[in-house]
């Protein structure tokens, strides 16, 4: 029995769970982007396009669509790293079931994160197809936004999972969404360039992984890639998610190996 397949085995559980709910998530991952695109792209966009000075004459729809792509990845990944992780420890105790078998803590973590990565690919593919249908993807490079959303997802799912494996109750998750995820959603370049933010907040925005994801997705769907800044975005996202995974590993060990 080779140990390199161990991290893949927990996927069986998450896929079995996903098979029960995928229709619902598939529908919501189509409806959500369409609603946002209608509201911001067309509704707000009509207003903005007349007055704003968006770069290179792009429409607001083209500007906001890749931002929403990255921001949606962040939201889904944050959810997947919070309640499901605490549940697998405390309520369904599925992590404990896994650890009674040959699986190790590292496999349990890797398997769960791999499932979240898979969810990113699924959701982003649907989303990208939807915004392409609205004419908001200008370049075939846009397809590369899908792996970028995987990195955005891990950059959130891994540190949140570290917290989910540390905390005793789910009370903090709502606060994380309200005071962490929602402000990031609004102020990390999704809806307007962060240069418009007051000085301090602009710096804060630079530090968030979401901004790096938004800007990289935007460069790709617009087909206007700046290699230097793209490399920085990529390195930042890889670094952030790697660090998150390491912290999550130690948090998992602390909670599960006693």
């Amino acid at each position: 029995m080779s140990s390199y397949t161990l991290p893949l085995r927990p996927l069986e559980f998450f896929f079995a769970q996903y098979r029960r709910v995928w229709r619902g998530t598939a529908i919501s991952s189509v409806i959500t982007p369409v609603v946002f695109l209608l509201a911001f792209g067309f509704g707000l966009g009509r207003l903005v396009d007349r007055t704003a000075d968006l770069p290179d004459g792009i429409t607001y729809l083209e500007f906001v669509a890749p931002g929403l792509l990255a921001a949606t990845a962040m939201q889904i990944a944050t959810f997947e790293g919070s309640w499901p992780v605490l549940s697998a420890i405390k309520w369904s105790r599925q992590y404990h079931a896994m650890l009674a078998t040959p699986l190790r803590v590292v496999d349990v973590l890797a398997g769960h994160q791999a499932f979240i990565a898979f969810r990113m690919v699924m959701t982003s593919s649907v989303y990208l197809a939807a915004i392409a249908a609205f004419g908001a993807v200008n370049s075939p490079l846009g397809i590369l936004a899908i792996p970028v959303t995987v990195l955005v997802g891990l950059a959130f799912a891994a540190p949140i999972a570290a917290w989910g494996a540390y905390t005793q109750t789910d009370q903090s998750f709502v606060a994380i969404f309200r005071f962490g995820i929602l402000p990031m959603f609004l102020f990390s370049g999704t809806f307007f360039p962060i240069e418009r933010l007051p000085g301090v907040l602009e710096v804060v925005a630079y530090v968030t992984p979401l901004w790096h994801g938004v800007d990289l997705c935007r460069q790709l769907t617009l087909g206007d890639v700046d290699p230097a800044s793209a490399a920085v975005h990529l390195a930042y996202l890889i670094g952030f998610s790697s660090l998150g995974l390491v912290v999550a590993y130690f948090s998992y060990r602390r909670r599960l190996v006693v």
Partner: protein, 315 residues
């Protein structure tokens, strides 16, 4: 002379210790589990039974001492050991949203078993635990006894060499307990090695060939249920109950002198240990002591535990 060495024992522990900070949960215990036997840890909650089980199951690191499971070292060979064990944990870890069959198949995949094998084994195991007709139902609405049986079926998916059962019938009603015992008894007859913890003396008597009595992290006695009763108790016990606390005489020694081996006054009753319960009950009556009720019964492991620790198993 040939003695049973480490290599013959499926599980071998010497001076095994588990500490959580200052708390010593398992305090230098020694035991050996032989192939094909049903071995039990009997003791009250907090005796260190679950901590011992978790170390054997390679999910909790050994603090000190020697532990060999299937001849291997849990610190180094956890993956291989766990692949050859079956575990029925104290708290259910079934996924309530998945079906009965999915729970088994998904678990089997953790062992890397191919789907074709799992399909067949899942059918056989569900038949064994009498859940075939619920195979495609979600787990959530199942009764506690059914969930326990499903957990047992799941634990057998990798055809384990040893089955670890932590409090297998805690929380079940009497009828469900008997169904679980019946299934475990069948496994035992098929030659599956069982290692179980329990705080029910009837469970230990029903299932265990050999057991250790644990109290406060230590093993206080070891033997077969019959041996333990012979060694630490008498054949029979007379239970005397009095109308109220004041009705219980202070000078029990006077009333029972020469009639019984040992007297054990408890808050709610008095136990008289003797090889002939009827003779003792009769003798006390003749001396003029009239309790509210008199019950003559056989000695159980409960009496063994009481004698060894001065406390009852379930408090």
């Amino acid at each position: 002379m040939v003695t049973a060495g480490t290599e013959d024992a499926l599980i071998h522990a010497r001076g095994l210790v588990k500490r959580f900070g200052e708390l010593v949960a398992v305090d230098a215990v020694d035991f050996d589990l032989k192939r094909g036997e049903a071995f039990g840890f009997l003791g009250p909650n907090g005796a260190g039974k679950t901590s011992t089980m978790r170390m054997i199951g390679c999910v909790s690191p050994v603090t000190d001492g020697t532990l060999r499971v299937l001849g291997l070292d849990p610190a180094k060979d956890g993956v291989e050991i766990r692949g050859r064990l079956g575990v029925v944990p104290q708290e259910d870890s079934l996924d309530l949203e998945l079906t009965v069959r999915e729970n088994i198949v998904v678990y089997g995949r953790y062992f890397g078993l191919p789907r074709s094998v799992l399909k067949q084994r899942a059918d056989e195991l569900l038949e064994f635990v009498e859940l075939s007709d619920r195979a495609d139902d979600r787990v959530e609405p199942l009764s506690g006894g059914m969930k326990r049986r499903l957990t047992i079926a799941r634990s057998l998916i990798n055809e384990p060499e040893v089955l670890l059962l932590d409090e297998p019938t805690t929380g079940l009603d009497p009828q469900a307990r008997h169904v679980v015992w019946d299934r475990l008894y069948r496994l035992k007859r098929r030659g599956v090695t069982l290692l179980l913890t329990t705080h029910y003396m009837d469970e230990a008597e029903q299932l265990c060939d050999r057991l250790v009595v644990m109290d406060k992290g230590r093993i206080v006695a070891e033997g077969s249920p019959r041996e333990l009763i012979e060694r630490y108790s008498t054949r029979e016990v007379v239970e005397l109950r009095f109308a109220d606390d004041d009705g219980q005489p202070d000078d029990l020694g006077y009333w029972t002198d020469g009639l019984v081996t040992r007297v054990e006054p408890l808050p709610d009753r008095v136990l008289l240990y003797t090889d002939s319960g009827d003779a003792a009950a009769h003798g006390i009556h003749e001396r003029g002591l009239v309790p509210d009720s008199v019950l003559v019964r056989r000695s159980t492991l409960e009496d063994v535990f009481l004698h060894l620790t001065g406390r009852t198993l379930i408090e």
